[in-house]
Symmetry: C2
Subunit: 223 residues, 2 copies
DNA sequence: TTGCATCTTGACCATTTGGTCAAATTACAC
DNA sequence: GTGTAATTTGACCAAATGGTCAAGATGCAA
């Protein structure tokens, strides 16, 4: 698990949580994700998070020692699930199928957890004050590892020459765009990823463009 | 010019500005772009903007009636230049050359005005409270118009079938990603678009991927 | 130089907001 | 049921911050 600094742990021995604690922490983190993703760290207020979690501000501060602690916990909570799909890229698989699966997973994330995407984007755009060490550490290693996988596919003549890191960036950019800029997309098309038809259209467009872009063709949908 | 609502104009007859006014407004808008793009609307403080502009908070409020007024003016100031490249897409040109030129312009914007990109991203991610009308109006019309251009190229058999709007989204996503997430990109690669080599690499990767993606090949660089 | 409009500022105010604390309430082991 | 620890809250505080205002400084036309 990726840890977010912090010496004073706000999550003591994970098993040592009462039912009430478990429930309230979960309520708080949900509310915090909603609030932070919509307003950013500065724009969010502890009071509103507490209200959305159905408790008083004082009580919320009984579970998390400060606004920043809530923020860090929220980030940590989403970061793992947000970066997980890349880990599934399988060196043994066929490039077309693997990349298509990765893209699909990323779009599904954007559709299912748009708030997480926006929170992450916000954090990075502010200079990644909390997660910079993770970006430079775990994430960098993961990207290196998966770049190696892609490079091997290229070396094996299975796909066109392309900088693997740039390819990963482009997949991130295109897929996350639909979550981060969903308001703009809705303003321009009237739809967003919550519309199943638009979701399929989008997945198809991105997959086709990127696979074609690296000299592959979309694999059949026989799963 | 795209106007940002607001009945009480903070920019009276454009010609009627004294030298002092012109200079100070410009200093303020520069400082505001820097501050708002780094901290977002809520995180920015009028005091810091004033300091960066080299004047007192009171004096800044002599030129702009409120924090929101500064924010609106800053947005209006960058919006036009930010959306301009799309307008240059020429129906009479060849798709490969036109798209390559558009992509290049967008990457140049990301390299030259990353703060503008982040400010715009921030505004949209917060729900576009200020610019939603523009997105739904002028921008929507512009995108429709240019989608028509792309669709005509497709109908003429000049490029592969693709949803033109989705193609535009993907160009926006990939190019702006390098400005909005430059911290992440720097953490992962050690470089950003201010590095000429990385700039060229990036332009090449994006252009190649997208043009190949729509069945085109990059045009020669004989300009 | 004079007089007026423009420009600039420090003092000040009201509100918001993150965080503290003591007291009250509730959950639960025995 | 009793007692202790966990939970919850309202009252309160200090700092930050957007904005006002009256007074002073400066620019400039005559």
């Amino acid at each position: 698990m990726m840890s977010l600094g912090g010496q004073a742990s706000d999550t003591p021995k994970n098993g040592g949580l009462s039912r009430i604690q478990e429930r309230n922490r979960s309520l708080i983190l949900d509310a915090a994700l909603s609030e932070f993703s919509r307003k950013g760290f500065s724009g969010a207020t502890v009071e509103r998070i507490a209200a959305e979690a159905g408790m008083s501000k004082s009580n919320l501060l009984y579970y998390f020692s400060s606004k920043e602690a809530i923020y860090k916990a929220t980030l940590a909570h989403i970061l793992e699930v947000w970066l997980a799909p890349l880990k599934t890229l399988d060196p043994g698989g066929e490039p077309a199928r693997e990349l298509a699966a990765y893209i699909r997973q990323k779009i599904e994330m954007s559709a299912t957890f748009p708030e997480a995407s926006r929170l992450f984007a916000n954090e990075v755009m502010q200079g990644a004050p909390q997660i910079l060490p993770i970006l430079e550490g775990d994430l960098r290693r993961l990207v290196s590892e998966k770049s190696r996988v892609i490079q091997d596919w290229i070396d094996a003549g299975k796909m066109r020459q392309v900088d693997p890191v740039q390819l990963i960036f482009m997949i991130w950019a295109t897929t996350q765009h639909y979550a981060d800029f969903s308001i703009q997309i809705k303003a321009l098309t009237g739809k967003d990823l919550s519309d199943p038809v638009f979701f399929e259209e989008t997945e198809n467009s991105i997959t086709t463009l990127i696979l074609n872009g690296v000299g592959l063709t979309a694999p059949g949908n026989d799963d």
